[in-house]
Point group: C2
Chain length 185, copies 2
DNA sequence: TTAAACTTTCAGTAATTTCTGAAACTTCAG
DNA sequence: CTGAAGTTTCAGAAATTACTGAAAGTTTAA
């Protein structure tokens, strides 16, 4: 399980970026190692390759499983657990996206909903509430849309993304062809 | 500058979420306070309202300015600086998005480009490189697309988002109407 | 040019987060 | 059963990140 220089660089980078992506250094490193490795890899091999404690490895793997980024792969004859990525690159990116939405947006939406239920105590509060409402609506649109996009599936999503500036033109086109169909939601 | 209960709750929550959104607790609190406050507010008032040191306040404001989320607002007669949001809610959300892309995606794209330049040393490296390439392409699409969407401007973007599941249907429609126009990029 | 009013910086401290490793637990072959 | 091979947990140590407050810096009115 000696890492090649290329893999080492990538693993180290994913470690450094880890905290910006919502997990910590070792979790990022473990993820990179599992993704870049062609073979299923055991917890012990991971600990050795990254020079981290067995306990830390176990926690990192647990977290990656909670993010649904890696999964266990049981090898028939073997006693120990092996790990592999939970899907292709596209799937993994999606999972990170979704999981982050849950952690970064959902709690705020829920708080905002609560705060908007109370009657404002005075003008200041009324104005603040109005702004909180704007934030809530924005987050709601973004959430709904991201779910929509996920439902499109990889192929269509790719078509849409590759469309580039064509999206703008397409919207115009649609307005001409299907007037009054804006309220699809 | 006594905060009302509503504003206090919101400010505290934005503080707690701060770290998940890419900055720290006080920065989140300061942002919320500036956004929810109708009047421009001075650094000293912020420090008092949040019970944080003047130094910390100054650093937080500096960071928020580097994110282009708040800006100075010079009041004619006054000596001190006042602060206000750098735009409406939509603009602010966009800035956070953009700024995070810079911090979370761009460095990785740049590393991946470098790693893909080297010739693979063996089969393992060749395979890893292939995966890194996939990641690179994915990030590139996402980046390009998010720029595209920003160029659409708020109104069109909103139309697109509100379209909901209509997007899928629209893509089908487009294929029928404009066959062979997929390669807009 | 002075000094009052304000801002920024930064060394040291406090708070938080991550990591280790030993102990407890689980599973299974013999 | 028993113990070997493995995993998980968690209290404390280490590392990182955030915060304070005093000192240095800046600006402007007089």
């Amino acid at each position: 399980m000696k890492m090649t220089p290329l893999i080492t660089s990538a693993v180290m980078h994913f470690g450094e970026m880890g905290s910006r992506w919502g997990f910590n250094r070792t979790v990022g490193q473990i993820l990179a190692l599992i993704v870049l490795n062609d073979e299923p890899i055991s917890a012990q091999e991971i600990a050795d390759a990254l020079n981290i404690s067995r306990g830390n490895t176990s926690m990192g793997l647990k977290e990656l499983q909670s993010w649904r980024l890696v999964k266990q792969h049981l090898v028939p004859g073997e006693r120990k657990d092996f790990f592999i990525p939970a899907g292709d690159i596209w799937t993994l990116a999606n999972r990170v996206f979704e999981e982050r939405r849950k952690r970064e947006i959902d709690p705020t939406m829920s708080l905002l909903r609560d705060l908007l239920l109370d009657a404002p105590g005075n003008d200041k509060e009324a104005s603040a509430q109005h702004k909180l409402n704007e934030i809530h609506d924005l987050l709601e649109s973004v959430t709904a849309w991201s779910e929509e996009l996920q439902n499109l599936g990889p192929e269509k999503l790719n078509t849409l993304m590759k469309l580039g500036s064509g999206v703008g033109r397409m919207l115009d086109l649609k307005d001409k062809l299907l007037p009054g169909k804006n309220s699809v939601n």
